[in-house]
Symmetry: C2
Subunit: 252 residues, 2 copies
Amino acid sequence: MHLLICNDDGIHAPGIAALVDALKDLGTITVAAPDGERSAVGHAITISDPIKCRPVELAGAAQSYAISGTPADCVKLAVYGLMERRPDLVVSGINLGPNAGISVIYSGTVSGATEGTILGIPSIAVSINTFRDPVWATAAQVARVVAERVLQNGLPDETLLNVNVPNLPLPDVKGYRVTRMGRSRFTEVFHRRMDPRGNVYYWMDGEMELEKGQSDTDVQALEADCVSLTPIWFDLTNYSALPRFASDWKDV
Amino acid sequence: MHLLICNDDGIHAPGIAALVDALKDLGTITVAAPDGERSAVGHAITISDPIKCRPVELAGAAQSYAISGTPADCVKLAVYGLMERRPDLVVSGINLGPNAGISVIYSGTVSGATEGTILGIPSIAVSINTFRDPVWATAAQVARVVAERVLQNGLPDETLLNVNVPNLPLPDVKGYRVTRMGRSRFTEVFHRRMDPRGNVYYWMDGEMELEKGQSDTDVQALEADCVSLTPIWFDLTNYSALPRFASDWKDV
């Protein structure tokens, strides 16, 4: 088996080392990750600039590359330019911080797995539900369980698995739940400042608000100390809205 | 009415001027757009860097801002930090080049409208089906028709309208079609080069391949010289895959 690992926290992030360590005896590991943090880049790709790529050493990986692009760039470049054969699985993570609710669409970690899926390779994204004091061992063990299953059973066409793991010791995790992406939004605050030359700039800050009255969501699974498994795809069509649109726009 | 206009080609792109001109008598126009090109940035946001913002003059707009961030940043900052009242409509574009098929997930133009939708504001994205010699007047006229309808009828919850316009004189456009996002992928080629100091870099290049045997897609509407209207949302859950996952993961 050949596994491709990427992330959005950068090649030197501890989450990637934990992932390589957990998956290394499943097959040959290639790591292709950004040369620095690329959080919240969404599904950005680099088409107007050159993409720099240099080999680095990473314990447990057969080959590793630090890449000046986004997570989606890393997966594309690895598959089309760096790996001698096509990977059997793409694993993106382990992200420091959950990718649940609306965060999914801003997530570089998820976009790495989305890119793998677009290229027809079974792909998973793994995130840990904390921004500090992560229990990497739990998320790494969960990644291992999920990776083995996906290698064995595959995934539905065009669908990746978005995995969010509670930040708890493994025995305290209450199980796995198949979930949907929770409805939520960020309420942003922009802090307005002035640089020493009088130019205005802003820092974006915000909090995620969850819509009330939902069930079976990724956010709720985490709140219940469960691993959340969400099948994600990249067809953004709102199929349920098609009939209304068809009738609304008949007369144009 | 208050309209917010953004794009991903930058504040000085001709597509934004065409859009302002077409919409200016529908209400008060605010333009918040990147200070340079931000194509293919997907739904990136800027959380690790400050966002610079300076007022600029743009004919037809009550206020205009050149912003150092992504299209999604521009919409967030305009709504939460720049506009005195919430806009009634967000229009993103006119993008030079189609945003149909898999391009939708890489598109900065669509992400501007997606951000508006997340914030609860009716939003549309408008793109023209060419990379050279654009007939702006046609796309601008279509944007006007669609904007008026959306202001009048609204849009379904959580749903934006992704509009792609053929690059033809208006009388040659064959009508409007409500479509879904076409199944396609980019087949990438990476051109490997070396800089004068011996460092390897790559240029990403590629072509979109359309899956065969589809109907009712955005790409096909454009091929038939029709305006394509696709209802797009941001819930990436693959609902049709949920039952299979629920049974596959019952025993974990």
